[in-house]
């Protein structure tokens, strides 16, 4: 594939993700941070995010699986997840986390369970999309091109 074709695909896909709210300006910030000294920065951070998220989701599942749900602990986990997802720009995941926290405050176990499902879903979605985007990126780099940036979403 031609570099500019790859780049166009990349841009289009980025725009879509931003429009649909999967990603927000924070992701652009990450892209901005990537430079010659750290060419794989975005990939590195996104990978860290995936790892951490899986751990957190696991903890959340376990926490909600208890007889007596510890809502404080649950809230702490959700808070953490909210922090990391917002740092990476995973907007929809972050929004579900906000809702999740409210449910924790209300000590609504059922609501929390549903929310957990929702957050898992959103996470998987953004994960798939980010992976696709990063694959495109790698292809561009491999083809010798520069990674284009969507300025309007910074």
């Amino acid at each position: 594939m031609e570099v500019d074709q790859l780049q166009r695909s990349f841009l289009e896909y980025s725009r879509l993700l931003f429009h649909e709210g999967f990603l927000d300006g924070q992701f652009s910030q990450l892209q901005l941070l990537q430079d010659e000294s750290n060419p794989d920065f975005v990939l590195e951070v996104v990978s860290l995010f995936f790892e951490d998220s899986e751990r957190l989701l696991n903890d959340l599942t376990i926490a909600l699986d208890q007889q007596n749900v510890d809502f404080k602990k649950l809230d702490a986990h959700v808070h953490q997840f909210k922090g990391s997802s917002s740092s990476i720009g995973a907007q929809r995941v972050k929004n579900v986390c906000i809702a999740f926290r409210n449910l924790c405050d209300e000590q609504n176990a059922e609501g929390c369970l549903r929310c957990l499902q929702q957050v898992k879903q959103e996470y998987l979605l953004v994960k798939t999309k980010l992976e696709a985007l990063l694959r495109l990126e790698q292809q561009i780099v491999a083809a010798g091109g520069a990674i284009p940036m969507l300025n309007e979403f910074c």
């Binding site: 910030q29 941070l33 750290n38 860290l48 953490q80 922090g83 990391s84 740092s87 990476i88 720009g89």
Partner: protein, 673 residues
Amino acid sequence: MDLGVKPVSFTSSSASWKSADGVPDQFPAGLRVLVVDDDPTCLRILEKMLKNCLYEVTTCNRAEVALKFLRDNKNGYDIVISDVHMPDMDGFKLLEHVGLEMDLPVIMMSADDSKNVVMKGVTHGACDYLIKPVRMEALKNIWQHVVRKKKHEWKEKDFEQSGSVDEVERQHKPPEDVDYSSSANEGNWKNSKKRKDEEDEAEERDDSSTLKKPRVVWSVELHQQFVTAVNQLGIDKAVPKKILELMNVPGLTRENVASHLQKYRLYLRRLSGVSQHQNGLGSSFMGPPDAPFGPMSSLSGVDLQALAASGQLPPQSLATIQAAALGRAATKSAIPVPLIDQRNIFSFENPKLRFLDGQQQQNNNSKQVSLLHGIPTNMDSKQLATLHQSAQSFGSMNMHVHSQASQSNSLLTQMVQPPSRAQILNEINGSHALNLPSSAGQPVLSQAVPNAVLGQNGIENVRRPAFTSVSQPSTVVDFSRSQSTEFPENSFSLVSNSGISNLTSKLQDEVNSEMKASRGFVPNYDVFNDINQNRTQDWRLQDVRSTFEAQQHSNGRGSLDVSSSVLIQQQFSSNQKSGQNRIPPVRKAAFSVADGLGNTSNIGQQLSSSLVDNPSRIKAERLPDMGFQNGLFSEHFGQEDLMTAILKQQQGGMEPIENEFGFDGYHLDNLPV
């Protein structure tokens, strides 16, 4: 490289601020940032962002690790950024620690933007609060916090040196407020104290004319006049100008009064903190932050000082003793206490001594009123009464002291001192009655005083005046004078009346005869017990003196006891001051001195118990075996006051030690983590 900022402000950390290419607009490149966040994603992102700002970044994902980094490399960082929610330690707690121990600007951050959390950050002293996700722009400007802080500190020091009392006082306030508002722990206290000490120190320097102005010696009379004026105006309304007018002392400047007032206030605060639970005395004196001072009053330094103060112990002798005691300690221990802390301690303490001196003066004038107006007078009468009562028999006194000591360890540290001090002076001056030793109150007073004094930098001139005013203890005066730090005298309050009397009598003998530390004296168990219990350092000397005189006839004991006890006390006080590291060596020195004396172990135990214990534990705890003492002493670092006092006294010969000890006490003690 020219950072374009006041170089002065950045001496410590500016060195690391090297612009990438020496161009001014590269500032603040090289800013050393420590980032703490348990979220690996955020941590990585922050790291990259900060690096892009040309900062030097260190990351860690655990608060404890962060603290370790900070402690290992005291000046290695300019600013700390920390997450609020962390599994191993609350971010606010880390914030407090950093503020107290390293006094670095700390930025909190969190995905939580709720107002109460942000408010918490503010109240805990965070210089900024960032909401996650953190953007590059927010991080770009964090250098402003470093500059601001440095500028503030630099400015404070500048003010202090210029003797601008108002400013200093103002500056004094904020740190106090901030520190006190933090979650209570010694660390907080320490930090605030540190700042106050710095300020005090600067003030004292002014007063003592080390730099520019001729020193104003706050004699007992002068202090008394000061206190009278303050009381007339009301402690809250007492402003330097009015005080000056009321005092009507030619040659006294408003700045002198202002700085003295500042110290006085600190002293009062300290007293109220201590006295709160103890006697019901005004409890306005010992402030909570004076915790380190409180313990300081525990023995050794105090006794010596008390003796010195009482004039029984020639300054030179005392200094010698102390020097000997400290010398040993110094050589043995490797106390890594920053000098600055010491200074702070001393300066902090010194003002207190002054006050006590003033108090004494009053008493000497046969005014059995609590000199310190803030100080509850009931203590005076009580103490006097007790003193008199116990004067009857040494034995009864001892018991009396013990019981009293146990009851009111805190009392001792409290204001009671001034009245007792007066008592002591009276005694010394004339009556030889065992007023001092008998009442537990006396020790209390002395303790309070010494603590204050001890805390103060030896530079304090105040102490000297107090002693000088006492006609009898001319030696005391000399002693204080000889001490550039002026500190020690006050700290040697006679803690335990009964014990002290024995001790003082002995000590007095010793002192008068220029006893050296090497003299072997049979330690007086009672004395030590009392001392331990009372922990009134400042007034001990006075108690000692009076008791000594009274005792001389009754006891017939040689000065051995006194000297040994003095030595030991010195040792202990130095231990206390030097902080944990030093304590063991110091103690050994003390013990070795006392060696040969049958009672060494007892003394050591007593001393160590006193040193180690907090006032509450002062009850004549006898350590079963001296071996404990090391451990005990090390706990006792809070006894900085003692140490500083002692150190100060020895200033002449103990310069290095002084530095060593003075700071340690506070520093180590206040490390809660």
